[in-house]
Symmetry: D4
Subunit: 217 residues, 8 copies
């Protein structure tokens, strides 16, 4: 077929290629998932619409679909990170689908996740009351739409890596998420790592790269 | 000459027209200031470069120039607001010129100003330690560049009107201040009043409109 | 659940958190409204689609939905502002949904509203014939799409605070409301307070902050 | 040389090609002007910097340079429009260079010009007091920066053609004149004719096309 | 009701206010049309969708709807321009709806229209073979999408006023018509008059302003 | 040093790496040129400012600098294309620096160039009178600023490959060349090959790739 | 009817006009195709939706529709290029529709196509393992969305002309394909020829112009 | 004075506040550096122009200025990371100033740096020949302008965290670095961490956050 799954990726990067289902036919997504399951025993597809999920489900009896994050997964990786923990923090309830894409991708890879929800900076006490949990995390993934100020405030409160995920939540001058993205790129909190708008998946993989990191010779 | 000062503005709006000096010749600026001084006994010019200030100074012996804010003023308005106070808060030292444009325009109009400087959200303790002063203000003007998150946080901490002033401080994806502007327009703190990038003058006039506000029949 | 309503906000800011329904499930919206009604005896949701309103109505028998502004409200705040009046002015009939979002949010908070409709600047006599009413208002909220010139003209006619609300009404080079937004930010009428495109709710809250304003020590 | 003047243009369009001096060497500008003077007895160059003007002046003893509009002209066209009159209206003093580019291009072509200066919409009485003169004009050219609202208001007051010229006057969110341009393109006053930012020359030529217009068979 | 038709506009500008139906309810559109028919005996609505047209038709038995241009008109103006003619030229077949909006608005006002279709500059012979008709027109309206080069070429071929109408026809980097709009604003053919993207109506009204133009004292 | 010239490029692509001098110190540019001359016997640097050229000249006695195109070259390639010819066509005199960057890069590679200057589409007869020469060319490089319509017209007149080079010539809504770039990308003349704004060098290399092209097994 | 097919184009450019079906009615598309079939014996329409294809099929019994690329073709050109070969390379499976638009347009014109799929740069070994095939091609068409890096890498690996086709595949900051387009225009691999976003058809025609190219006198 | 250094930051984040010198007076920069040296025994300022550096040098005899990166540092942190190594890779020589800002910030913090220069993807062999060194690094910082493809390719070759730094190197459609920024945000290599354009400092701090990371309870 037309699909050539990058099955070397697991070796090179410790995570199998994920299938980006947007713009693929169900048949193409199925082919890619099959090749990956054959190679690795598990596979993940992102941005899967409900109709496609239904059609995949007939082919992968053990597949699991989550309608919020639109993730479809078959099996689970064998890796585990027992002593690590990633805090996935989101500013508003509307940011949950993106936050869940990050959380569930991490869980697929064996990483324990701490979810902290609805702690946007307009009601600062909500965030400050979770400070202990935040400081206990190895890595913080901060998900926010609108002006995207959450990672700026978090970046000043914790020493851990902060991965900033802008979302498209908002309207008008938020320009489909650009306002949050620009805010995060220009943060006066130094050392934020930014990913694309709504890219919870990418944030999870950035975190995995860090957790796999080892001092070298 | 070619300059027609809007001398009615004082009556209609309680503040004389200010001269926008950018793009004017020194002669045009002088003509406009003269007409305003003749009508009101005082006048203000914004965005005056040092060379122009020097040339104006020869014509208005009592004029005062501030190189940071680039304001040139002759005299002072007779109005006063003894029981009011406006807090002009800025995120970083680089935002000071814009903050001073706001502060000194207010002082020209007889409004007491409380300056709170260098309290950006990446070091939240700096802001929280000033909370009492902030809550004592009638109005808060919040000046910030880069991601412009300061007004969002302030908007959640005080009940007073918050006037948000984005600055062009930053580089790259700050797009000459657009990132801060967009952040403020999309704030999840409700009811922020936003003005143009670097428009400290406009923020001061918005505050004046509020201080002059009276319950009507 | 995943929703953490900011019930302190009423104390900090004199207005309860409002629920932004866009991007929320009906269940999430219901949870947030319930928490707020429990805490304050009233609650407001914005950007509620008809289907969601129908589902909410089954849970809140006294809830009221307005299809134009897409506001859903349960009860009403106990505050009142008998001597104040806010003029909500709009340029064209197509701007009405946004103007109503502002007007009805204000009425929910006990503020008397004067509606002035269809007075765009291309037919100036319509606006000038309402000048007396406009000058009687404590605050003017000016709602306009396309080139958004209405607040500029109003800003020159009244001394009161002018809150400018750009709408997305128009097509082509209006860029979904950016032309009106940019026009308002660059107004030569000084001291306009601008909010996000289509943000009638934010305009109402900016007005409330002003009406709650008190001279401080 | 490398310059090929379009000397047919006078015949096809009733106006000789004008030389756009920006990005040309003085020698190229001189060559182009010479060819045009040879063909038509007169010529016009736009956007000429003072240094280039000085060097041209040595070659064309009868040439005239205007530092405000940056126009350089040799001679004058023989056409005349005695019964017509174009009103060139500008919003602020800072818009004068662009307005003068329009006015002097028209005068070069023999068209009588009525200048109306500093009548921006933030002080509406200034504009309304000139209504009679405005209604007497065959064509109105309206020049404005910042939010560019002047043509919208004018378009509603006169029946004549209105040519709208945005200028780059302003800062921040004016985006070098885009705010004024977008405002004019989206005007709710119908039938405005818009030209490029700072393009006083183009406005004059649009007016000339109209004045040369004749009912045809 | 909420609709305030600007019935003075006919007197001030020689054309009645037209109803912009986008974003209006059928009832609002009906109210506005009724007020205008009552005042002028005729009325025009633009951007009317088929469903709304069907509902209007039940109220105005003599109304006429054109599905291509989305114009709905009741009656016709009494003006006539027997010795004038406007050429409405379009680059591709896909630009026809916008071209028809211009043509039929002109015909509603009694202006004779010459339609010249599918003469884009990529096949120049098509345009050149119509040169005689083009040169016979009092005014040329040039409608084009994609790169919008047609008015540039036409502007160099005729001396008449050229009104350039960019359309949103195209995809990708045409940015919903911005490429054509920018092309027309930057044309090296001098004196083009540009209107908003897809604004055939505005082009017709610009032409009408020109045809109504009279030399004044 | 820090410069690693890609000396394999000649073998892989038939053209040596050229040095992009913008943002390099004279020492870095010298190092890169030296390495390339050592490997190939010739070298080319683009975007060289006069001061840098002067300093290079002291090191390469046989180097040649052209101030218009800002090209600095040492020697010449040994390749030759006797039966080919590339027409480098430009719309206005101000586009010459970019056109010369293309022409002289081609000549450095041994390709005969036909220059056709100042034939913009606003004076179509100038272009049509050169049609024979244009049709005789193997490849046409069309250089234009402002609305960039020249390649669209050329693309419809010749069957040869047309390489479209937008320039930054213009002002206001030309957005530093974006208007020309967008025009060329959206051309209704099919099969144009577009390069970056002001990238005469890239156009020459695209042409070289075509001239080196050979039917393969 | 309103459709004027450019039937000369075959003579001028060696390829018949193709019908751009987006924004056309089925009747208009049918008329255009009929005129072209009558003149050339074959015809191609692009961007045909399934419903329109079904309606066309009833009129052209021998027509062929491909749902992926949305091409509708009647017959086939008589030209052939036996010794040439174009490699159509795409980065991801989601880019296939655009790649197929290029491939099938070329096959309609008699050009042999080599398809190389799913070789994006994030898994470089996939691309490097196809190097021999890539170097055997006369021309390479490189189709990629997201960051669009494939043509940059290819441009450094082959000496043949590289036609870069950005696609709109991606989300968020890909801005509907602008990220890929900008990446290709700014490639440090010199001499890439870029076409519009999703314009597989244009890429095929650029390739055809090259294959038809002949050394001239 | 007006400067309030955030001296807590060292404790909260393991790195002292750095002074952003752009937009500060020399006196303000000196004050901030002094406060930081007093608190921590060392300090760093970024974006220091040569004149300011000269003036600082008179106050800090042991200060060191690097003209390429524009870093000014006094002393050095006491931390050390002997078993870690960060590879700072850049695509072209012109990207060196940004790469050096990252490298020297890391060295200031005691992190060993491996510099790999001039390995852009247009000459892939240069990058592939350094693969061993790249795979030996704990973290890779990839600096690139123009299309910014380097991090995409690197992201596919190494499993370590990749911090992508776009630079403003390029011209025209690179939009001052936006093309590289967008490319990196949309990379098909998953898990890249992106920082602002030209923000070498931010990349170094993101790396430090990772190196300081510890598995938590
Ligand atoms: N810094 C400033 N920002 C925005 N508007 C200003 C500023 N300074 C003065 N203005 C206003 O801008 C307008 C300038 O008009 P003019 O001086 O005629 O060009 C007046 O209405 C002033 O009140
Ligand atoms: N997919 C396409 N992308 C770009 N141009 C196209 C496409 N399909 C056809 N065209 C060209 O677009 C023009 C369409 O003009 P028209 O069909 O008259 O609107 C013709 O010159 C076609 O050759
Ligand atoms: N949601 C996502 N966002 C960004 N990249 C993704 C996403 N899902 C998968 N990918 C990556 O995108 C690439 C898709 O390539 P393809 O599936 O061949 O079109 C693969 O490298 C995936 O690892
Ligand atoms: N004017 C130019 N425009 C675009 N690319 C260029 C230009 N001059 C040189 N180049 C290419 O840009 C790259 C410069 O890389 P570097 O010199 O290492 O920064 C090389 O691949 C050159 O071939
Ligand atoms: Mg919430
Ligand atoms: Mg500070
Ligand atoms: Mg109306
Ligand atoms: Mg003025
Ligand atoms: Mg056609
Ligand atoms: Mg010329
Ligand atoms: Mg793939
Ligand atoms: Mg290099």
């Amino acid at each position: 077929g037309h699909v050539l799954a990058d099955t070397h990726r697991m070796i090179r990067q410790g995570f199998p290629e994920a299938v980006y289902a947007e713009g693929k036919t169900p048949a193409q997504t199925f082919d890619a998932l099959s090749a990956l399951v054959a190679a690795h025993g598990c596979a993940l597809a992102t941005r899967v619409r409900p109709e496609m999920a239904a059609s995949l489900q007939q082919r992968f009896p053990t597949g699991v679909y989550d309608g919020g994050s639109r993730l479809y997964r078959v099996g689970k990786m064998s890796s585990s990170f027992p002593s690590a923990s990633v805090a996935v923090v989101c500013a508003g309830t509307s940011d949950l689908p993106v936050a869940e894409e990050a959380s569930q991708t991490l869980e697929f890879a064996g990483v324990p996740v701490k979810r902290i929800t609805d702690v946007g900076v307009a009601g600062l006490h909500r965030l400050l009351s979770r400070l202990e949990e935040l400081r206990a995390a190895s890595i913080v993934i901060a998900v926010a739409g609108m002006e995207g100020a959450l990672p700026s405030v978090l970046g000043g409160l914790v020493a851990a890596p902060v991965i900033a995920v802008p979302t498209s939540v908002g309207y008008g001058a938020n320009l489909h998420g650009l306002s949050a993205l620009l805010g995060m790129l220009n943060s006066c909190a130094s050392g934020l790592a930014v990913v694309n708008i709504d890219n919870g998946f990418g944030a999870a993989l950035a975190a995995l790269r860090m957790l796999n990191m080892q001092p070298k010779a």
